[in-house]
């Protein structure tokens, strides 16, 4: 299992040397490339999965932003939890998350992934995917429109753009 190892790498960053102008510039450039190639995992559990497909489809076309889907978690950067997560499924979601290489991002798409949504009172539904894996962005909607998901992707890109990349390499390696 790759789980424990990976989690260790999410240790908080320590403040390292003073921010260097060069590294900041490089960060900007690298992050610009990184954010332009966010590959998302084809992970559709329920209703939102259909809207996820439609988002990758012709009308919204996430490919414009360089975001394409991958089937293998090893090759994806973004986990879009599209739909209800049941207790039976919960372990698998965590496994999939752990299989993704760093840096990775998670969007909780739709009410079910946010907090259980309309299935909150149900006996078999996990009340929010953030009980299992860390979530970067919460996306309201049941299901959210493709454009809303597109907006979430842009938010993820903004987040990537703001990340100090070089510092992280120093800590992680």
């Amino acid at each position: 299992m790759t789980g424990p190892k990976l989690e260790q790498r999410i240790e908080p960053e320590e403040e390292l040397a003073l921010p260097n102008v060069l590294t900041t510039r490089l960060d900007l450039a690298l992050n610009w490339f990184r954010k332009s190639s966010v590959w998302y995992l084809l992970f559709a559990t329920a209703c939102c999965g259909i809207e996820l497909m439609q988002t990758g489809g012709p009308r919204t076309d996430l490919d414009r932003f360089g975001a394409v889907f991958r089937s293998s978690p090893r090759q994806s950067d973004l986990l879009i939890v599209a739909g209800t997560i049941t207790y039976k499924m919960a372990d698998r979601v965590r496994l999939i998350y752990n299989q993704m290489p760093q840096p990775k991002y998670v969007i909780a798409m739709g009410s079910c992934a946010n907090c259980g949504g309309l299935f909150t009172p149900s006996y078999s539904v996990v009340n929010g995917v953030d009980k299992i894996i860390p979530v970067d962005f919460y996306l309201p909607g049941c299901p959210p429109r493709p454009e809303a998901l597109n907006e979430a992707l842009i938010k993820v890109q903004e987040k990537i753009q703001g990340e100090p990349w070089f510092k992280k390499i120093k800590v992680a390696r």
């Binding site: 990976l6 332009s36 293998s72 090893r74 090759q75």
Partner: protein, 427 residues
């Protein structure tokens, strides 16, 4: 290369006899590394933009746009994908066979990359004009089989193993129709050297091997089909069948190593197109300029001259256009056809392609014996084949137009605007 190294040794270190100088191997090594870096960059530049082209073309085929945000019209998309994958975490599953897991992408890459050595890009633009060029291509690309199987095995995932096994069965089988359809060319050209094959043809279409006779015409399509299978392209992409094996042999690969597989795939696209071009479509041959004239130009000017450079560039451009066209066709096939099943794949190879290529060989032999080269009958057949080829293209464009016209009016009524939106209009 050797000459340049010797030249460096002579001028930089003042050693005339490189062979006896003890440090000359260092210079040689440096030169090799330099050449390798140069070549990898070259291949990357070949392979990279194709991914962008493919995604744009695929986008338009699917009524969407494709990447258009990263750089001008999204052209830097391939760079972004590459850099991002370089920066990803280096992840090797615990259960994987680590040395093999690391080695596999390099083998795949080497197999693809090695083939570039003998590709004749221009009149004198070939890294090494081996006299066994075709054989070398067939041999070196076999490394890919090894790499894929290794990747499948080392990942220690059953899906990857399935992908590896499938690719082995597939690549080993399809070597045969590929080799057989290349045999047709070898028979006609009488050589295995890639440059010689190009020189055996001519600049004008009637001198190309593809229009030489019906059997070469058929062999061209057979070669393209079987090299689709060699390159794991749809409809033969079983080793990485998305919907069956998730991602096939590369399911456990991430980041940098996955990038190697990706690039190998795209580089292979070029190799596929290049083989088709130099074997059947006249390669870099410039219409109206005989290769001997270019040679003579080089010999006359004792080195290089501007007219020689111009001709080189022209020959390269001709080669690139032809190859790009093939690449485009392959891309379009990729986004049109579904995937074969594994038994159908084998049936297609052994029951259809292999017999047909054998027929082609026999037919070409018979034609070579019966019809004298350069005779009236020969040119009549060439003309006929060109008419057939042209008719096919015309029919294709007509069918495409029919499809367009069928949708045009109802679209205008529905959306209130014109359906016409040619691919050169960028958004």
């Amino acid at each position: 290369m050797r000459q340049i190294a010797d030249w460096i040794i002579l001028n930089l270190f003042g050693v005339a006899d490189a062979g006896s100088w003890p440090y000359s191997w260092l210079v040689y090594l440096g030169m090799m590394v330099f050449a390798a870096v140069l070549a990898i960059t070259f291949v990357a530049i070949f392979a990279g933009p194709v991914t962008w082209v493919e995604r744009r073309v695929a986008g338009r085929i699917m009524s969407r746009l494709g990447p258009n945000r990263v750089g001008p019209q999204g052209f830097l998309q391939w760079l972004a994908d590459g850099l991002k994958n370089l920066l990803k975490e280096d992840l090797i599953p615990d259960a994987a066979d680590r040395p093999l897991f690391r080695l596999a992408p390099h083998l795949v890459w080497m197999g693809m990359f090695g083939a570039f050595v003998v590709l004749p890009f221009g009149a004198h633009l070939v890294a090494a004009d081996l006299n066994v060029g075709l054989l070398y291509i067939l041999a070196i690309t076999s490394l890919v089989v090894l790499g894929l199987l290794m990747a499948g095995w080392a990942s220690n995932s059953k899906w990857a193993l399935y992908g590896g096994i499938r690719s082995t069965a597939q690549l080993v089988s399809y070597e045969i129709p590929t080799a057989f359809s290349l045999m047709v060319i070898v028979i006609l050209a009488g050589t295995l050297s890639t440059q010689e094959i190009v020189r055996a043809q001519g600049g004008w279409p009637w001198d190309w091997f593809v229009f030489r006779n019906p059997f070469t015409f058929l062999a061209f399509f057979l070669l393209m089909t079987s090299s689709l299978a060699e390159g794991n392209r749809v409809p033969f992409d079983l080793p990485e069948a998305e919907s069956e094996l998730v991602a096939g042999y590369n399911i456990e690969y991430s980041g940098m190593r996955f990038l190697f597989f990706l690039f190998a795939e795209w580089a292979n696209l070029w190799i596929m197109a290049a083989i088709g071009t130099f074997c059947f479509l006249g390669g870099w041959q410039i219409p109206g300029v005989s290769p001997d004239a270019i040679d003579a130009l080089l010999a006359r000017s004792h080195g290089w001259s501007w007219s020689w450079v111009g001709l080189q560039a022209l020959s390269f451009a001709i080669f690139a256009i032809k190859a790009s066209w093939l690449v485009f066709v392959v891309i379009q096939i990729r986004w049109t056809l579904p995937r074969l099943r594994v038994d159908q794949l084998m049936i297609a190879c052994w029951k259809y392609l292999v017999p047909m290529t054998l027929v082609c060989i026999l037919g070409v032999l018979a034609m070579a014996l019966l019809i004298p080269q350069g005779g009236v009958l020969d040119y009549l057949i060439r003309g006929l084949m060109m008419v057939v080829g042209g008719a096919l293209v015309a029919l294709f464009l007509w069918r495409a137009r029919v499809n367009y016209m069928l949708a045009r009016d109802s679209y205008r009524k529905m959306e209130g605007r014109e359906l016409w939106f040619p691919p050169y209009r960028l958004v």
